[in-house]
Symmetry: C2
Subunit: 392 residues, 2 copies
């Protein structure tokens, strides 16, 4: 196993009606002037924004609002947020929504606490040396950004989608009320479950360093999400299943399921990032569309892990050769994706790239990872192109 | 399931030679004048204290030292530490050792940041409103105090042993180097594994609120410790097994394995506390000596959980009635204790109380829990007496 750091300072307040405690939490973390950052209109239409601002009004906490965070959130809105916060002397950020609003708020925080262009961090030019405190009211269980150190921002010019990770990006608090996720469309719920599982799977398929306890936690988390994703397909209002998935989402990306390993593989995410940059596809669906092809491309190079995954997560029959068991696990995972109406290839995702687009995605992906990357198997640009094309 | 809070701000630095980073970590958390608090001579004899002070000297960090923290750490030493810190203007505490040194340091921190008698907190009279930052270099995997909110202090007068929990008690950082635990006597290693498992088992045997994901994490953690405790019995220098147990120790008591439940049972701990107050027994061994009797006394009242434990943790045969399966699980747990040379009753623990001592322990235990307590089954003083006597 490898040495590791584990740092999850986010105070999680989990349960029904917990958003009513937002003012107390903001005060606890010293906020006096707040930017409330959110995405689309659902936060407005559901009445959640009004409930939150009423709570802040009652507590005499001043705020400004900035909506408009879109999936694959844009750098332009980040700049706008930074300017607004400077003008209004904001000292605390409150994101209401899912990964888009949270990631965008993280970038605004970096921009406020550091001189120069905030894109530098996402362009790997330098590291952030601070942020301002961020609170979250989560409405979509998916990205895990509410406890994670990472954020992903898309620069409109050239559609460059990049992630940046820093402990300064970890939220001060996260309010997790499973009821707030009940109005999500079924497709978004399934996308979220896919993304949640992938955050642990990326950490699981590695060449080494795996701890038994980390594996046990990872496998338990994956089995739980897999089971409850199917429950939510049939019963979207099931509070307990919403809660299981929501908590799994935070734990799956806060670092817990990777302790001791070599850092993880992450190539499914990297391959999907270029899909998300070029086409308007949901992140979770893009992951599902790529994963099976990636898995078949790399599994022989990482056979013990794929076998373990097949037995302990997908719970397939333990007969035949290791390769047969591993393949049975990959097939079972694809069956699971289909069972929750997720795509298992690009056509099902609704994407049919030209040869030039395949080549462009592979080229951008290779640049994005600095040439080659992966743990289950190190992939170069030619590998990336092969996987993209085979996933059609 | 119940609503919950999850807050584990401790920065964990895990791996070989990580104690060499202590000066940087102290600076990161703003420490300028340090109290180094430790227990017995092993920290001195092993050269660890010297290595740490050399590191601080090289970084121009001033410190004073206070040794002498004993198992069931005493209030007198806490008072002494508070006086020393006030005199020396200490602004950061560094505990080197296991639960004794850490718990004692937590109490010193409360005493420094709050007016009045620090025992008030342990006597349930008032709540701490702050502390000063605490760093830990862990040398014994057992209590989980390096990430937990709890500390246990014994008042010499009347041998009153009390625990106090506060988020202010959670350490700022914890350095976890499994190599530092390799010189522990085998008995202490086994006691540590017992204590670690019990922190999750106390959270597991409840009447409700259990989340599937919490159960999956708890069961995975318990299986991992059970397996690696046996490895360490035969091969105490096994780094990987030391690491599995050490990380499990932190996760088992930081709150992770109780999310969503009703708060847990905790009666095995409470019953053992009185044993530890009256006799000089190791905490882990005391827990093992009590647990089987407690389990047989309560299991019918909490049958689904005992059955699940038997199947998913002890992995016993799934045949017969629920009661038979539950009892098979309890027996398997006792077999495990015996396999790592832990006692399964008071005689094996080396304790043979008189009728008066039994009555005194039950009376003090009942007072300590405010009359009656427990989740698997609520126990009153008569129940406590019956369990003590049956555990002989």
């Amino acid at each position: 196993m490898f040495d590791f750091k584990y740092f999850t300072p986010t105070k999680v307040i989990f349960g029904k009606n917990t958003e009513s405690r937002v003012a107390d939490l903001i005060k606890e973390f010293g906020g006096t002037k707040i930017l409330i950052h959110y995405g689309g209109g659902s936060v407005v239409r559901s009445g959640l924004l009004k409930r939150v601002t009423d709570t802040l009004d009652a507590a005499n906490i001043n705020y400004v609002t900035l909506g408009g965070a879109v999936p694959n959130p844009h750098l332009g809105l980040v700049y706008e947020g930074i300017e607004l916060c400077k003008k209004e002397n904001v000292d605390f950020l409150l994101a209401i929504g899912g990964g888009s609003a949270i990631d965008s708020a993280k970038a605004i925080g970096y921009g406020l606490a550091n001189e120069g262009d905030v894109w530098d961090f996402y362009d790997y030019k330098r590291k952030a040396e601070g942020s301002i405190p961020l609170g979250v009211i989560l409405t979509i269980a998916a990205t895990g950004s509410e406890m994670s150190d990472s954020s992903v921002i898309t620069k409109e010019e050239g559609l460059v989608k990049r992630g940046y990770s820093s402990d300064y990006g970890r939220p001060a608090f996260a309010i997790l009320n499973p009821e707030l996720t009940m109005t999500l469309p079924d497709y978004q719920t399934a996308c979220g479950c896919t993304d949640i599982m992938m955050h642990t799977m990326e950490r699981y398929f590695t060449q080494g360093g795996n701890m038994e306890i980390t594996d046990a936690l990872a496998e338990g988390l994956l089995r739980t999400v897999k089971k409850n994703a199917v429950i939510l397909r049939d019963d979207p209002q099931n509070y307990d299943a919403r809660a299981e998935v929501m908590w799994a989402g935070s734990l799956s990306h806060n670092g817990l399921t990777g302790c001791g390993n070599d850092g993880g593989d992450w190539m499914t995410h990297k391959l999907e990032h270029e899909l998300g940059g070029l086409y308007d596809v949901a992140h979770g669906a893009g992951l599902a569309a790529i994963w099976g092809t990636w898995a078949r491309y790399v599994y022989k190079n990482c056979l013990p892990r794929f076998k373990k995954f097949a037995l302990n997560v997908m719970e397939v029959e333990n007969t035949g050769s290791d390769e047969e068991i591993a393949l049975r696990g990959i097939e079972a995972m694809e069956d699971f994706y289909r069972s929750i109406n997720m795509p298992t290839n690009l056509r099902e995702l609704g994407v049919n790239p030209t040869e030039e687009e395949f080549a462009l995605m592979a080229e951008k992906c290779a640049i994005g990872v600095g040439g080659a990357k992966g743990s289950a198997k190190v992939l170069n640009e030619a590998d990336m192109l092969a996987i993209y094309k085979a996933s059609l």
